[in-house]
Symmetry: D3
Subunit: 154 residues, 6 copies
């Protein structure tokens, strides 16, 4: 029946398992550009960070990922920035450390740790990630994307 086919195609959704772990980090920074208004001044934020890890099949333990290793990796990555003024971190020179930019930074570092095996061998089966930074009760930003084939391959 054609309308059914059309519907299924319109909602082509992958089969996916997701696990999410939450942590937080408190930082200072300033933003450059008049679009930022008062946020051009040195201020700060608490980011409550959600790390979602995804794969189409569970591993042999029935898991997406070892939640302990995922939490530890996230804590280590946030620890690099914790109680810091981001304006003084060399790697961020010339960048606006917006919430969406920082979501990408955390994504890339987690992807590297997965590739390095820090989340366990089984984590090589992960196919995509999403990192969300909640900056208040009324605003958040996220970055999501696929993990490179090189990550998934042995």
């Amino acid at each position: 029946m054609s309308s059914v086919t059309a519907s299924v195609m319109t909602d082509w959704r992958p089969t996916l398992y997701t696990v999410c772990v939450r942590d937080h980090v408190m930082i200072a920074h300033s933003l450059r550009g008049k679009i930022f208004g008062p946020a051009q001044r040195l201020h700060g934020a608490t980011y409550v960070v959600d790390l979602e890890l995804r794969r189409p099949e569970l591993d042999s333990d029935g898991l997406v990922v070892d939640i302990g290793l995922a939490s530890t990796a996230l804590a280590h990555i946030l620890g690099e920035f914790a109680y810091r003024n981001l304006d003084e971190i060399a790697g961020f020179r010339g960048k606006n450390t917006t919430t969406e930019f920082l979501a990408r930074v955390v994504f890339d570092r987690i992807a590297q740790r997965i590739a390095a095996g820090d989340l366990g061998e089984s984590a090589r089966g992960l196919t995509s990630l999403r990192v969300t930074l909640r900056e208040s009760h009324v605003a958040w930003a996220s970055y999501e994307g696929a993990l490179m084939a090189s990550t998934n391959a042995c």
Copy 2:
């Protein structure tokens, strides 16, 4: 390796940045059709509204969108309905103003404002939106979709 390729394809996820802003609106309405049971009577709701805006690349300020302009646009759109009986709004005659229907209404109005430049020139780089209306601690509805090519083109 073929199983890796299969996995990546099964979880074909776009690279996406998302920013979300939250607001709320309080309205009265009634619903027609026996499926609605007691909700056929005139009653009301608070909708806590999440507007998610998405794009594959950040703009030159490192942003998905000017969060101030997005919040203002959402507030204006909700302001049309705030403290109103939706049964008396001409545009909704003959429609059931269900939560999912209203999510679509907000989506369409935001899309129009983006096309009109109300969220800034950079907002023309937005590629999709999601609007979620939370009606209680145990129920919500959303509408999501791509923005028209005409919106993205200059």
Copy 3:
């Protein structure tokens, strides 16, 4: 303009309406495998369960699904496990009842009920589901996927 086309393709998102209902269940279980550490002991969890139901078009009542029928179906499925030790349920023998595994179990049972017509005739227009189990304020897991074509066909 090629960059615009590319963007739209990168963010190819289906047009989708979603409705979500929430319930919860409290269970005991144990997990097998040294990766689980202390969770190998008999312990338990409260799972706050979000059932998302999706379709590309609303039905003739302006609904994704009859929210009352969806809530009842979810309550019945959770009722099978409520206040139980999952280690003693025959269908789970030899399985690790991880949060992600249980999300899949609830998904499959809801899909069966949709196919059986328990969520109403209109629910046959549903095209995908997502089931999320929140196990604490810092961790959750979900399973999502398309409903079979056989579900959508009459």
Copy 4:
């Protein structure tokens, strides 16, 4: 030591056990008085309702109250108002059904049910209640107070 004594007196806090159950209700109403601005129009609200029940000692089952009976009583009371226009309820004529006013209404009805034995014999040991109505993600109101001696006496 006098400063210690003073501290203890300043923070004279009763020893108390509390149990809370949550439900919700959706209503329409209007408010009279120019202080209400646009809320003078017919509109509506979802109230997420928290009922806290308190006592200084647990009963012989180790409970503050039978949580099932408390939830049922709350559901029945909210059911009186569910999907109703409060402006048409005889008992509210000439009253502004503000959130704080409605918190008191729910409090009084729960107190009556406790006195009537609807929450069980043991519930006569309850000494105070608090009822909170959350009307959005940024506003709530509550009413709290002691239960009458007549409630506590056998």
Copy 5:
């Protein structure tokens, strides 16, 4: 009956109406003292701020306070600190701007505005306040206290 009397006295709770409004503020600061560890460095925070206003009787409109005036007063007070480095604010020199300290600062400023009539004449009937600053999903601090008699008197 003496045990009843004892219970009522142990749980001597005032009859109270409360209204709460929520807002937020993002700031930078540093803390002095080795007890603060890495928080001695310049960092920042988002504080989600809940302002609770209390009184034993509603005013003639059926209100604890004009919620619009209360929200505006809170926004103005937080606006003094928004996107600021608290280390550079003259009034905070020599103070540790801990979360609990800042809760008191907001409390005192709201109390002054109530006394000045900024929350309306009726707000003179308010008898106590509580200010809570949520700094993450796992930590918050508050300050609460009575309003001076001079505030309540005409």
Copy 6:
């Protein structure tokens, strides 16, 4: 003015600073007594635990308590029960480990640690505690009370 005096007395609220830290624990248990219905079977729960610590004056660092020490103490206490079947813990024999009962258990253990100096010398200035266990999105229980004078005295 007598009505003012009455109001102030009715709302006699202590001046109090509070700090709260949150953690969680997952356990199995069963409850005895027909009032518990299906919860008489072996099942389990996740408790999200809020520990509130209170005092009328801040210490010389501007703190209610060292939040790091408070979090560590809470984690240690919950660690005693984590991933355990409470029915097998000797100290709970013959007790119903209801949510409200467990709130008291955590309270008592924290009070002992404060008295022992585990939360720092300054923590002796704490005058009361509240422990809340959230068992689902619709139910929680708490225990609160004053700390003994012996705790506050040096």
